[in-house]
C-alpha cells in the first residue's frame, strides 16, 4: 500500500501503459513462436478427433489448411 504512495501518479500511468504493451508483445511473441513450431510427427491428422465445430478462429479449423494450399499455389 505504501509502495503505491511512493510512485507518483504520472509514473503509474506510464507503468500501466507499459504493462499493456508488454502483454501485447508477449501475446504476439508467443503466438508467432507457437505458429512457427511444427506439430510433432504423427499429429498431422488430429483434427478429426475434435468433433468439428463452427469456431473459425480455432487454429485447427480445416479451412486454414485450404488457405495454406491456396497460398502455396499462388506462390508457385
Amino acid at each position: 500500500m505504501y509502495l503505491s504512495l511512493l510512485i507518483s501518479s504520472i509514473g503509474k500511468i506510464f507503468a500501466s501503459i507499459g504493462v499493456v504493451l508488454v502483454s501485447i508483445a508477449l501475446f504476439i511473441g508467443t503466438f508467432l513462436l507457437n505458429k512457427k513450431t511444427k506439430k510433432p510427427d504423427g499429429c498431422e491428422n488430429l483434427d478429426e478427433t475434435c468433433a468439428g465445430c463452427q469456431l473459425i478462429q480455432c487454429s485447427h479449423h480445416p479451412i486454414k489448411k485450404e488457405e495454406e494450399i491456396k497460398g502455396e499455389k499462388n506462390n508457385d
Binding site: 501485447i24 501475446f27 504476439i28 503466438f31 463452427q54 469456431l55 473459425i56 478462429q57 487454429s59
Partner: protein, 216 residues
C-alpha cells in the same frame, strides 16, 4: 440485391444462436426477462458493429500472420469501453442481472468469428451490413426465447419495474423461469426454427421439381 443477401444471411440462414450455435452463453443466461435480453442484444450490436468497422478498415495493414492476436486486442479494448459505458448509463438492476455476461462478450464466438470470416475480406459497408444482420439475428433469437420464458414462466411481462400480469400466477409454469428452463426453452425454439426451415426448403424443392418437370 447483394446487400440484402448479406443482411438476411445473418438473420435467417446462419442465425448465430439458432443455426450455427455460437455465442450461446448470453443466449441462456440473459433470457430470463425480455428487458435483459434487449439490453444484452444492444450490447452485442454495439461491439459487433464497431469491431467489424475497425477490422474492415485496417484489414490491408495488418500482416496476415498476426491477424488473430490483433483482432483479440481490438475486441478486448472495445468490450472494456462498452462495459464501462453500460455500467454508467444502464439502470442498476439491469446491469446487476447482466453481470459478467458483458465482460464475456470478449470471448464470444460471434464477434471473433465474424471478424475472421467476413470483416477481413470485405469493405466497410458490407461489414456494417453483416454486423447488423448477425446482431439482429442474435437479438431476434434471444428476445423470442426471453418472451416465451417470461410469459409462460412467470405469467407477467415487466419493463423497468412495472409489470403486466397476463396469465394468473397460479397457472404459470415456473419451470421456465428457473435454470433448467433456459435450456429447455432454447431447445424448443431451436427445434421450432429448424422445423419451419425444413418446411420452407421442402416447399422450394417440390416447386423446383414441378417447374423442371413442366419445362421438359
Amino acid at each position: 440485391m447483394k446487400k440484402l443477401k448479406i443482411f438476411l444471411n445473418g438473420l435467417i440462414y446462419e442465425n448465430p444462436t439458432l443455426v450455427i450455435f455460437l455465442g450461446m452463453c448470453p443466449a441462456l443466461g440473459t433470457t430470463n426477462k425480455v428487458e435483459n435480453a434487449l439490453y444484452m442484444s444492444l450490447c452485442v450490436l454495439a461491439v459487433l458493429l464497431l469491431s467489424n468497422i475497425i477490422i474492415s478498415l485496417i484489414r490491408k495493414i495488418v500482416p496476415n500472420e498476426v491477424r488473430i492476436p490483433v483482432y483479440i486486442i481490438i475486441i478486448a479494448t472495445l468490450v472494456s469501453i462498452v462495459d464501462m459505458l453500460f455500467h454508467a448509463y444502464l439502470p442498476y438492476n439491469v446491469y446487476q442481472s447482466l453481470g459478467s455476461f458483458i465482460s464475456l462478450i470478449v470471448v464470444n464466438c460471434i464477434i471473433l468469428g465474424r471478424a475472421e470470416s467476413f470483416a477481413n475480406k470485405n469493405n466497410v459497408l458490407d461489414s456494417i451490413i453483416d454486423a447488423l444482420g448477425f446482431a439482429c439475428g442474435f437479438a431476434v433469437a434471444i428476445i423470442v426465447v426471453a418472451f416465451f420464458r417470461e410469459l409462460i414462466g412467470t405469467g407477467a411481462l415487466s419493463w423497468a419495474g412495472h409489470s403486466l400480469q397476463i396469465i394468473p400466477k397460479n397457472y404459470a409454469i415456473s419451470l421456465f423461469a428457473s435454470n433448467s428452463g433456459a435450456f429447455i426453452a432454447l431447445g424448443l425454439v431451436v427445434a421450432l426454427y429448424s422445423f419451419v426451415m425444413n418446411v420452407v426448403k421442402d416447399n422450394k424443392k417440390t416447386k423446383a421439381a414441378k417447374t423442371a418437370s413442366e419445362s421438359k
